[in-house]
Amino acid sequence: MKRILNVAYYTFLEMVRNKVLFILFFFALFIFGLGIVITQMTIGDNLTIISDVGLATIEIFLTVLSIFLGISLVQKELSQKTLYPLLARPVSRAEYILGKFFGMLLLVIVAIVIMSVIFTILLFFYGGAGRIIDFLPAIYAIFLQTSTIISVAVLCSTLTEPAVAATLTISFYIIGATSYNLVYAITKRTSETVTKIITTLRYVLPDFNHFNIKDNLVYGRGLENLSLGVASIYALIIVVIVLSLSIIFFNAKEIN
């Protein structure tokens, strides 16, 4: 466990000093700014709009961050040979993969804290700083969704080069984000057999609808019973399966 934490800490340190991270932060600030502009141009409750935009910004920022940095986690170390001296240490390949994953997760947690502080300041200017407490479950759900994306990015990073890994991870995100609505739309218009196939497929495809708590909270519909528990278990299942696959593939890989 100590070795996993060591790999995680230095992975975090290396990434936190990366310029890409600062560029992404500016990107996030830009979207927050855009949210303010939107509230000026839209008719409706400004606090609701800024809450919606704020939570969406956090989700987009974390998704982009986890895809951009996650896909190069292992591949960059392979191409730059930084992996060679590391694997010469008493670190198993499984510990290395887990360390990389948790390092990235640590970065995401720090990013969530910073983004939440900025979001709270924004809410304060619209007279609703206290609402951040209501939104915490939504932020936690975004964190869960991001952790599944990171695990897929790690898997893709152990298998292939960054460009292909990025395509695969983005595909995972798009499928996850659209599968629920897509399946719903298709099953409304097709035969019973196709409906059965599609419904079965739904259990295999990622479904980020489990993590979509923010709409309910922003529009005051409240938190459904067990929704956070279901989301946590769902994320845990995906992460465990995907990381296990990463470890299996990485153990079988020749580091050439």
Binding site: N18, K81, P85, L87, N256
Partner: protein, 314 residues
């Protein structure tokens, strides 16, 4: 005592990048071992199989056939990794970390902690000449500095076996001298060292035994003296005599050379050497120097290359 390294009938083939069914033999059926406290140098041209062999020793890639034993265990076994230090060829490290960060990272992974880790890191940084640059990020290090930090991380945990792929590459003469001194000090401390280099004089000066690899074949393994073919030893006699004897000397042997007040004669073989020496003594000349000279490692490697080239052409 378990040998640090024992390799038996090692073979490694790779899939051909263009022809899927073809295999490329990178290392072909060779065996060698490394004794405790011994320095072994790997010699061979680019693509000879040195790095492939080192990667197999480190458990980064696996042999197609044959057996590798590192301290009695399989390469890559976590339980023996603390006994091994590794410097890869042209090492790159995390550009956003400082030299000190890297040593702390690798030291911690090897079980060092607290003041022991800091003291050890500072000592090694001084040894490799990077103490003043310890807090600079590696992104700003030169190639030679990266090589030094690579060496530092390889020995931070005081390993029993150090494996280095081209440790002198990218270093200036001062840096090379320092690295050579570190390798010597490792031997003095009873460590075993394997290193590969293109600089044959370095291999010759530092190594107890030399492994010459050509096209994946082990061409020779032993001390420089052991790997010399007795036919390649050059025998030479330097002799002199009174002025009246000098003209007669030229009629005694063909190809005689004169240097200062001495005659020098090269001999084709040990028999030729013995016969010429007897004649010189018989004729009452004074023998100043007589004996065999071993060819340098450079000459040996060059002759191996020529041999392999001829095998390819035939």
């Amino acid at each position: 005592m378990t040998k640090p390294i024992e390799v038996k009938n090692l073979t490694k083939t790779f899939r051909h990048p263009m022809k899927v069914w073809d295999r490329i033999e990178a290392v072909r059926d060779f065996s060698f071992s490394v004794e405790p406290g011994e320095i072994v140098g790997f010699v061979g041209h680019n693509g000879a199989g040195k790095t492939t062999t080192i990667k197999m020793l480190m458990g980064l890639i696996w042999p197609t056939s044959g057996k590798i034993s590192i301290f009695g265990k399989k390469p890559g076994d976590v339980s023996i990794k603390n006994k091994i230090g590794f410097l890869p060829e042209r090492p790159y490290f995390y550009s956003q970390l400082s030299g000190m960060d890297v040593l702390k990272y690798f030291g911690k992974l090897s079980g060092l902690k607290g003041t022991t880790l800091i003291d050890r890191a500072e000592k090694i940084l001084r040894q490799v000449g990077l103490y003043n640059d310890r807090n600079r990020r590696l992104g700003g290090y030169s190639k030679g500095m990266l090589q030094r930090i690579g060496l530092a991380q390889a020995i931070i945990h005081n390993p029993e076996l150090v494996i280095m792929d081209e440790p002198m590459s990218g270093l200036d003469p001062v840096g090379r001298r320092e690295v050579k001194e570190i390798i010597r000090s490792l031997k003095r401390d009873g460590k075993s060292v394997i290193f590969s280099s293109h600089i044959l004089s370095d291999i010759e000066n530092l190594s107890d035994r030399v492994l010459i690899i050509e096209n994946g074949f082990k061409k020779s393994f032993g001390t420089v003296r052991e790997i010399v073919d007795p036919d390649n030893i050059r025998y030479k006699i330097e002799f002199g005599g009174k002025d009246e004897m000098k003209d007669a000397a030229f009629s005694l042997f063909k190809g005689i050379r004169v240097a200062s007040d001495r005659f020098i004669i090269d001999c084709e073989s040990l028999e030729d050497f013995n016969s010429k020496l007897s004649t010189i003594v018989e004729k009452k000349y004074t023998v100043h120097e007589a004996g065999g000279t071993y060819p340098s490692l450079e000459e040996i490697v060059f002759s191996v290359k020529k041999e392999v080239g001829n095998e390819k052409n035939s």
